[in-house]
Amino acid sequence: MNRKEEMLVRKIKEGIVIDHIKPGKGIEILSILRNHLKGRAVLLHRASSRRMGVKDMLKIEFGLSSEKDLELVALFSPNATINWIKDWEVVRKEEAKLPEEVRELLRCPNPRCITNDEREREFITTVFRLDGPAYVCRYCGARISIDEIPDYINLKV
């Protein structure tokens, strides 16, 4: 981020900064985290980045009441980094990592899967397990390869 953008969005004293988000994915990440925000959040869309050209960035003041959903960040943006801030300093930094199991967020690509049945859908939650380069549906075995993930994210923004 250059100096002008820093003036647009100031640093936070305490909280979480999700950086290097694929442009356009910031709003989706914000939407999955919004129920756990402890303070204000600001989304910087299309910020300039030396590494990526442009990127999205999400600053969450005071962090999250539950960090469980942070593990979903990589599904939206595999190369994002997550920074924990205390007293203006980064105290911990992690690369977003694909979760071993994803519940509810992914939709099964198999139209004949029980989780896609119009009537049963409201009774059942999708469960996908990470197996090498793909997520596998618990119910029908259908696979979603890592690059196909955006096509199967079921998000009510």
């Binding site: 198999n110 029980i114 009537r119």
Partner: protein, 303 residues
Amino acid sequence: MKNKSITSALEISKQDALKIFQLADKIKMGKVPKLKGKIALLFFEPSTRTFFSFYSAALLTGLTPIGFQSIEGTSVKKGESLIDTVRMFLGYGADCIVMRHPRAGAPLYIAERIDKPVINAGDDSREHPTQGLLDVYTIRERFGKIDGLRIGILGDLRYGRTPSSLAYLLSHWDTELVFIAPPLLQIDKRNDGMEMILRERDVKYEKREEVRVEDLDVLYVTRIQRERFPDEREYLKVRGAYRITRELLNRAKKDMIVMHPLPRVDELSPEVDRDERAWYFRQAENGLYVRAALFSLILGGWK
């Protein structure tokens, strides 16, 4: 195996399969366990063989079968959910649910939600584990062993639910599998990761387009369905090429057997019935003993 659900052949260990086979042998010789209880047969997709095989297995072991053979005339037509239908049958005292459903994973979904065992009698094109059990039982009956056999599975391997369950069970033994199908219907076209699972289990297999049978000990034939082909001419070509005739059997080993989960349409010529290598009617009959054995182990707590 008491109270164990069978939703996939992947959940059946070698030890469990052998237990089922040994008990099925006894039942076939007339030593039938006497059980008490109710079995709910819930067939959301029409079936004759599988339905009546479970039905007869229930009667044979003294269980009372309740349920339906198709959804015609049931509240499912009114839009009742699957779980509600199942709960109703549990309310009537069902000790076990046997279900066939047009959606993949439906039996697993129900097994997760109720505390009675669920047996998958076919879920879409995914699996049919009890068919796989009776298939392996029949192979064992014929050869007295399973290790060392070369087993060809032919036909619609993409949408068929029997090839997957059969191959998963055979993965417990040292067999070589030959998947014979046109490329459009090969196992790599399936949407349930079957080929990945076979690789994880170190199964020896090859894929073959051409119908060659001379190297096989077992030829397992499945039906090729017209509606799977976008083009009628393409279908007719495949249908002709994958038809099993006496002429083809002339080139096969003398002690090979021909199997088929049935019903057949025209992939298996009736002239094959007269060949002593035709084992499909014996195979179908074995369904009764294997399913009776399964009920005994799951409901009776037989060891």
